[in-house]
Amino acid sequence: MTEKLPTRPPLDAFPYQRHANSRPFATDMGPGVYIYVQDENGIVHVLAETEGHLHPKVLGGGTPAAAAGGMKLEAGGVIVELDNYSGTFQFGPEILPQVREALERQGGKVAPAAERPFDH
Protein backbone atom coordinates (compact mmCIF):
# COMPACT_ATOMS: atom_id res chain seq x y z
CA MET A 1 0.00 0.00 0.00
CA THR A 2 1.70 3.22 -1.13
CA GLU A 3 -1.08 5.80 -0.85
CA LYS A 4 -1.58 7.26 2.61
CA LEU A 5 -5.02 6.96 4.16
CA PRO A 6 -6.79 10.09 5.45
CA THR A 7 -6.41 10.43 9.21
CA ARG A 8 -7.79 12.38 12.17
CA PRO A 9 -5.96 13.37 15.38
CA PRO A 10 -6.88 11.88 18.77
CA LEU A 11 -9.28 13.91 20.91
CA ASP A 12 -6.95 13.13 23.80
CA ALA A 13 -3.86 14.86 22.42
CA PHE A 14 -1.59 14.06 25.36
CA PRO A 15 1.62 12.54 23.92
CA TYR A 16 1.43 9.14 25.63
CA GLN A 17 4.20 6.66 24.99
CA ARG A 18 3.22 3.81 22.71
CA HIS A 19 2.00 0.94 24.92
CA ALA A 20 4.62 -1.78 25.33
CA ASN A 21 2.14 -4.47 24.24
CA SER A 22 0.85 -2.64 21.15
CA ARG A 23 1.71 -4.54 17.94
CA PRO A 24 0.52 -4.94 14.38
CA PHE A 25 -2.28 -7.48 14.04
CA ALA A 26 -0.99 -11.00 13.28
CA THR A 27 -2.50 -14.46 13.31
CA ASP A 28 -0.34 -15.65 16.22
CA MET A 29 -2.26 -13.47 18.67
CA GLY A 30 -4.24 -15.32 21.29
CA PRO A 31 -8.03 -15.30 21.46
CA GLY A 32 -9.50 -12.34 23.32
CA VAL A 33 -10.86 -8.83 23.16
CA TYR A 34 -8.66 -6.19 21.61
CA ILE A 35 -8.79 -2.58 20.57
CA TYR A 36 -7.24 -1.50 17.30
CA VAL A 37 -5.94 1.61 15.57
CA GLN A 38 -5.14 1.75 11.85
CA ASP A 39 -2.21 3.97 10.89
CA GLU A 40 -1.89 6.13 7.79
CA ASN A 41 -0.13 3.30 5.96
CA GLY A 42 -3.11 1.01 6.47
CA ILE A 43 -1.52 -1.21 9.12
CA VAL A 44 -3.89 -2.26 11.92
CA HIS A 45 -2.21 -2.17 15.34
CA VAL A 46 -3.84 -3.97 18.27
CA LEU A 47 -3.72 -4.06 22.06
CA ALA A 48 -5.56 -6.35 24.49
CA GLU A 49 -8.36 -4.37 26.17
CA THR A 50 -7.31 -4.87 29.77
CA GLU A 51 -8.33 -1.38 30.89
CA GLY A 52 -10.14 1.66 29.56
CA HIS A 53 -8.81 4.54 27.49
CA LEU A 54 -6.13 2.64 25.58
CA HIS A 55 -6.75 3.94 22.05
CA PRO A 56 -4.36 6.93 22.36
CA LYS A 57 -1.61 4.55 23.51
CA VAL A 58 -1.82 2.09 20.60
CA LEU A 59 0.26 4.33 18.32
CA GLY A 60 1.25 6.83 21.02
CA GLY A 61 2.66 10.32 20.66
CA GLY A 62 -0.66 11.88 19.69
CA THR A 63 -0.40 10.17 16.29
CA PRO A 64 -3.44 10.60 14.00
CA ALA A 65 -5.32 7.45 12.97
CA ALA A 66 -7.10 6.25 9.84
CA ALA A 67 -9.52 4.07 11.81
CA ALA A 68 -10.06 2.79 15.35
CA GLY A 69 -12.35 0.46 17.25
CA GLY A 70 -12.52 -2.91 18.91
CA MET A 71 -12.49 -6.55 17.94
CA LYS A 72 -13.02 -10.01 19.35
CA LEU A 73 -10.57 -12.61 18.16
CA GLU A 74 -10.87 -16.38 18.20
CA ALA A 75 -8.12 -18.92 17.66
CA GLY A 76 -6.35 -18.91 14.31
CA GLY A 77 -6.77 -15.21 13.66
CA VAL A 78 -10.54 -15.35 13.13
CA ILE A 79 -12.20 -12.02 13.97
CA VAL A 80 -15.77 -12.67 15.08
CA GLU A 81 -16.60 -9.09 16.12
CA LEU A 82 -15.33 -5.87 14.60
CA ASP A 83 -16.59 -2.42 15.55
CA ASN A 84 -15.71 1.26 15.12
CA TYR A 85 -16.22 2.40 18.74
CA SER A 86 -13.45 4.66 20.04
CA GLY A 87 -13.98 7.60 22.37
CA THR A 88 -10.57 8.91 21.36
CA PHE A 89 -11.10 8.87 17.57
CA GLN A 90 -14.89 8.48 17.07
CA PHE A 91 -14.89 7.25 13.51
CA GLY A 92 -18.18 6.25 11.94
CA PRO A 93 -18.97 2.83 10.48
CA GLU A 94 -17.62 3.87 7.08
CA ILE A 95 -14.15 2.78 8.20
CA LEU A 96 -15.12 -0.87 8.67
CA PRO A 97 -14.54 -2.04 5.06
CA GLN A 98 -10.99 -0.63 4.99
CA VAL A 99 -10.23 -2.24 8.36
CA ARG A 100 -11.62 -5.59 7.20
CA GLU A 101 -9.46 -5.39 4.10
CA ALA A 102 -6.36 -4.53 6.11
CA LEU A 103 -6.91 -7.32 8.62
CA GLU A 104 -7.23 -9.82 5.78
CA ARG A 105 -4.10 -8.40 4.20
CA GLN A 106 -2.34 -8.99 7.53
CA GLY A 107 -3.46 -12.65 7.54
CA GLY A 108 -6.70 -12.49 9.53
CA LYS A 109 -10.08 -13.91 8.62
CA VAL A 110 -13.06 -11.68 9.34
CA ALA A 111 -16.28 -13.64 9.89
CA PRO A 112 -19.08 -12.56 7.51
CA ALA A 113 -21.35 -11.18 10.26
CA ALA A 114 -18.54 -9.73 12.39
CA GLU A 115 -19.13 -6.04 11.74
CA ARG A 116 -20.93 -4.10 14.49
CA PRO A 117 -21.30 -0.51 13.39
CA PHE A 118 -21.66 2.28 15.95
CA ASP A 119 -23.48 5.42 14.84
CA HIS A 120 -23.51 8.95 16.22
Binding site: A13, F14, G52, H53, L54, H55, G70, Y85, D119
Partner: protein, 149 residues
Protein backbone atom coordinates in the same frame (compact mmCIF):
# COMPACT_ATOMS: atom_id res chain seq x y z
CA UNK B 1 -34.66 7.58 34.03
CA UNK B 2 -31.67 6.29 35.97
CA UNK B 3 -29.13 9.05 36.54
CA UNK B 4 -25.70 8.75 38.15
CA UNK B 5 -23.27 11.45 39.25
CA UNK B 6 -19.66 10.41 39.78
CA UNK B 7 -17.13 12.70 41.43
CA UNK B 8 -13.41 12.03 41.65
CA UNK B 9 -11.03 14.10 43.74
CA UNK B 10 -7.27 13.81 43.56
CA UNK B 11 -5.32 13.52 46.78
CA UNK B 12 -3.54 16.77 45.83
CA UNK B 13 -6.90 18.50 46.62
CA UNK B 14 -6.49 20.55 43.44
CA UNK B 15 -7.72 18.31 40.65
CA UNK B 16 -11.28 17.05 40.58
CA UNK B 17 -14.06 16.13 38.20
CA UNK B 18 -17.76 15.48 38.28
CA UNK B 19 -19.82 13.80 35.56
CA UNK B 20 -23.53 13.06 35.35
CA UNK B 21 -24.88 10.40 33.03
CA UNK B 22 -28.27 8.82 32.37
CA UNK B 23 -29.44 5.69 30.66
CA UNK B 24 -31.63 6.42 27.66
CA UNK B 25 -35.10 4.94 28.03
CA UNK B 26 -35.29 3.38 24.57
CA UNK B 27 -31.69 2.76 23.71
CA UNK B 28 -30.93 2.51 20.01
CA UNK B 29 -28.66 -0.39 19.23
CA UNK B 30 -24.94 0.44 19.03
CA UNK B 31 -25.19 4.19 19.36
CA UNK B 32 -22.34 6.40 20.56
CA UNK B 33 -23.15 8.21 23.82
CA UNK B 34 -25.05 11.44 23.22
CA UNK B 35 -25.16 14.84 24.92
CA UNK B 36 -28.22 16.04 26.78
CA UNK B 37 -29.82 19.11 25.19
CA UNK B 38 -28.83 21.11 28.28
CA UNK B 39 -25.38 19.55 28.70
CA UNK B 40 -22.89 21.50 30.80
CA UNK B 41 -19.13 21.26 30.35
CA UNK B 42 -17.10 23.46 32.69
CA UNK B 43 -13.57 22.20 33.08
CA UNK B 44 -10.73 24.44 34.22
CA UNK B 45 -7.60 23.46 32.35
CA UNK B 46 -4.58 23.27 34.63
CA UNK B 47 -1.95 23.15 31.89
CA UNK B 48 -1.59 24.55 28.38
CA UNK B 49 -2.95 21.48 26.60
CA UNK B 50 -5.90 21.16 28.98
CA UNK B 51 -6.69 24.85 28.49
CA UNK B 52 -7.07 24.18 24.75
CA UNK B 53 -9.64 21.41 25.30
CA UNK B 54 -13.38 21.74 24.81
CA UNK B 55 -16.30 19.40 25.42
CA UNK B 56 -15.31 17.19 22.47
CA UNK B 57 -11.97 16.43 24.11
CA UNK B 58 -13.20 15.87 27.65
CA UNK B 59 -16.12 13.66 26.68
CA UNK B 60 -13.77 11.44 24.67
CA UNK B 61 -12.22 10.16 27.89
CA UNK B 62 -15.64 9.57 29.37
CA UNK B 63 -16.65 7.62 26.27
CA UNK B 64 -13.59 5.40 26.59
CA UNK B 65 -14.49 4.54 30.16
CA UNK B 66 -18.13 3.88 29.34
CA UNK B 67 -17.16 1.43 26.64
CA UNK B 68 -14.79 -0.43 28.94
CA UNK B 69 -17.45 -0.59 31.63
CA UNK B 70 -20.44 -1.65 29.57
CA UNK B 71 -18.83 -3.77 26.91
CA UNK B 72 -15.87 -5.36 28.68
CA UNK B 73 -16.78 -5.51 32.37
CA UNK B 74 -20.56 -5.87 32.09
CA UNK B 75 -20.82 -7.48 28.67
CA UNK B 76 -23.69 -5.54 27.12
CA UNK B 77 -23.86 -2.07 25.63
CA UNK B 78 -26.34 0.53 26.87
CA UNK B 79 -27.12 3.88 25.27
CA UNK B 80 -26.10 6.73 27.56
CA UNK B 81 -26.58 10.49 27.72
CA UNK B 82 -24.12 12.99 29.23
CA UNK B 83 -25.58 15.80 31.31
CA UNK B 84 -22.53 17.31 32.96
CA UNK B 85 -18.75 17.36 32.91
CA UNK B 86 -17.11 19.70 35.42
CA UNK B 87 -13.78 19.88 37.10
CA UNK B 88 -10.24 21.16 37.24
CA UNK B 89 -7.87 18.90 35.35
CA UNK B 90 -4.56 18.54 33.60
CA UNK B 91 -4.51 17.04 30.11
CA UNK B 92 -2.94 13.90 31.52
CA UNK B 93 -5.98 13.44 33.78
CA UNK B 94 -8.10 12.12 30.91
CA UNK B 95 -7.66 8.69 32.43
CA UNK B 96 -9.54 9.87 35.53
CA UNK B 97 -12.45 10.87 33.28
CA UNK B 98 -12.29 7.42 31.77
CA UNK B 99 -12.45 5.92 35.27
CA UNK B 100 -15.50 8.05 35.99
CA UNK B 101 -17.14 6.67 32.86
CA UNK B 102 -16.44 3.08 33.88
CA UNK B 103 -17.74 3.70 37.40
CA UNK B 104 -20.87 5.33 35.97
CA UNK B 105 -21.45 2.31 33.71
CA UNK B 106 -21.10 -0.08 36.64
CA UNK B 107 -23.43 2.02 38.78
CA UNK B 108 -26.04 2.41 36.03
CA UNK B 109 -25.99 -1.35 35.55
CA UNK B 110 -26.08 -1.85 39.34
CA UNK B 111 -22.89 -3.88 39.29
CA UNK B 112 -20.30 -4.15 42.03
CA UNK B 113 -17.44 -1.70 41.55
CA UNK B 114 -15.38 -2.65 44.58
CA UNK B 115 -12.67 -4.24 42.41
CA UNK B 116 -12.28 -1.15 40.23
CA UNK B 117 -9.46 1.03 41.52
CA UNK B 118 -8.68 4.72 40.97
CA UNK B 119 -5.18 5.20 42.41
CA UNK B 120 -4.69 8.63 43.95
CA UNK B 121 -8.33 9.65 43.50
CA UNK B 122 -11.27 9.31 45.90
CA UNK B 123 -14.69 8.50 44.48
CA UNK B 124 -18.16 9.71 45.43
CA UNK B 125 -21.28 8.46 43.66
CA UNK B 126 -24.86 9.65 43.90
CA UNK B 127 -27.77 8.28 41.91
CA UNK B 128 -31.40 9.05 41.33
CA UNK B 129 -34.33 7.74 39.38
CA UNK B 130 -36.72 10.28 37.89
CA UNK B 131 -39.64 7.86 38.22
CA UNK B 132 -39.40 7.79 42.00
CA UNK B 133 -37.99 10.28 44.44
CA UNK B 134 -34.95 8.69 46.07
CA UNK B 135 -35.68 10.60 49.25
CA UNK B 136 -39.19 9.18 49.51
CA UNK B 137 -38.76 5.55 48.60
CA UNK B 138 -36.03 4.77 51.10
CA UNK B 139 -33.90 2.99 48.50
CA UNK B 140 -30.49 2.64 50.11
CA UNK B 141 -28.83 2.83 46.67
CA UNK B 142 -30.18 6.35 46.26
CA UNK B 143 -28.21 7.66 49.19
CA UNK B 144 -24.80 9.08 48.56
CA UNK B 145 -22.11 6.47 48.53
CA UNK B 146 -18.58 7.52 49.21
CA UNK B 147 -15.56 5.37 48.89
CA UNK B 148 -11.86 5.98 48.64
CA UNK B 149 -10.14 3.37 46.52
Amino acid sequence: MEKVTVELRNEDKLRWLRVTLSLLESPPENRYPVRASDVVCEVIGLDALAKSYNIDNWESGLMSGLSFGFRRLIGSWRAVQFGEIRGALRAADMEALSWAGTIAALELAQKDRSEFSTPGWSVTVSRESSSQSPLLNGDPRSSELSKSL
